[in-house]
Symmetry: C2
């Protein structure tokens, strides 16, 4: 029997981790298909010909790409355990910050790959400055989504975790308890939740992947 | 009496035009506040301290920024005349293409500002290549949204119109009937709809603004 829901991802990707957690929070059964990004399957390229990227969710044979679009699809399709707030203004607020993280902050991190020395340091100071806005947004709250894990918690957590591992590999320290005390505490708390942790590969595998990838980044940007 | 809904925009901006049309389609009354982007008001900076950009929608004193986030807010708040499709997969599809236009294609256009000669030409060939995907998406449809104007029509139309004026100012021809026949025909049809046209400044004012702005872009990127 063909599974109704399939997720094409890579275990160390914060973008596919987001989709795994959302599906788990909704209790949706799915088949996970691991993609080798250095040798993408023809199925992935067929399902996401525009970006040729993971994650792709395939539901009843129909593919959906882009993690934030997939999260909205999951929310629209499975109404139990809502991940988006009910109130339109609260929904706009979490969407605003998710977009900010995936565009403004991610663009800075991508830019940092080409940079060295003082320039690299300056970019990561800017990343911290922007992350401080998210730190402030979380002030006085248990989760971004209020009393339980929601859309913005899912979106932010795996990126922060990924950045933490990246900085370890790069021997930098920009995400620290001192710089981002509220996000720091919240991320430790989330990491203790079995369902959240369950979407992450082991720390060793994750670090090995990042070491290879950051090496790869350096190579590809030196062209 | 304080207006319930206020929009901070600039008339020639495709991003604020989107919001105007969505509000008009929903029949929402609003007060429009024109911003001078070379001398932004303190109110705009207070309402959108993160990006310091228009458009900002203020509803009952609460600000919402980022045009795609505002469109979702408008849909969530005023349920009449839906602009998003009902079906979750169709919703995901229009969200995917809106994101593609605002990220992939817009990034290329921004990159073109720094380019000259062959490089500029190459970038615009790439823009056309990407827009052809949207052209294909529209094939056989009256509107992106089906039988009536919806979210993706709103998002794409003002960008295409803006690109058409831009190319006139730059004396380039990348958006042509030959290159993008379906988008071309559809954009002519939309321009004849009074409500759609009503969100645009006059062609002369629009062109004068773009001439000044494209000059400004060149200056700011030469720093």
């Amino acid at each position: 029997m063909v599974a109704e829901v399939k997720l094409f991802g890579t275990l160390p990707s914060p973008f596919s981790q987001r989709i795994e957690l959302a599906l788990k929070l909704k209790g949706v059964e799915y088949e996970y298909v691991e993609e080798d990004l250095s040798n993408k399957s023809s199925l992935l390229l067929e399902y996401n010909p525009v970006h040729r990227k993971i994650p792709v969710l395939v539901h009843n044979g129909k593919p959906i790409a882009e993690s934030l679009v997939i999260l909205e699809y999951i929310e629209d399709t499975w109404n139990n355990n809502p991940i988006l707030p009910k109130d339109p203004y609260d929904r706009a607020t979490v969407r605003f910050w998710a977009k900010f993280l995936d565009e403004t902050i991610l663009q800075l991190v991508i830019k940092s790959r080409d940079a060295t020395g003082e320039e690299k340091k300056r970019i990561f100071e800017e990343v911290v400055k922007q992350l401080k806005l998210l730190d402030k947004e979380l002030e006085g709250k248990e989760f971004f989504g209020g009393q339980s894990i929601g859309y913005l918690d899912i979106v932010v957590f795996y990126m922060i975790y990924w950045y933490q591992l990246r900085q370890e590999v790069m021997e930098l320290a920009f995400i620290t308890e001192e710089n981002l005390p509220i996000l720091w505490k919240w991320s430790k708390k989330l990491l203790e939740i079995a369902m959240v942790k369950g979407c992450l590969p082991s720390r060793d595998i994750h670090l090995a992947y990042l070491r290879a990838r950051i090496g790869g980044d350096a190579k590809s940007t030196s062209k």
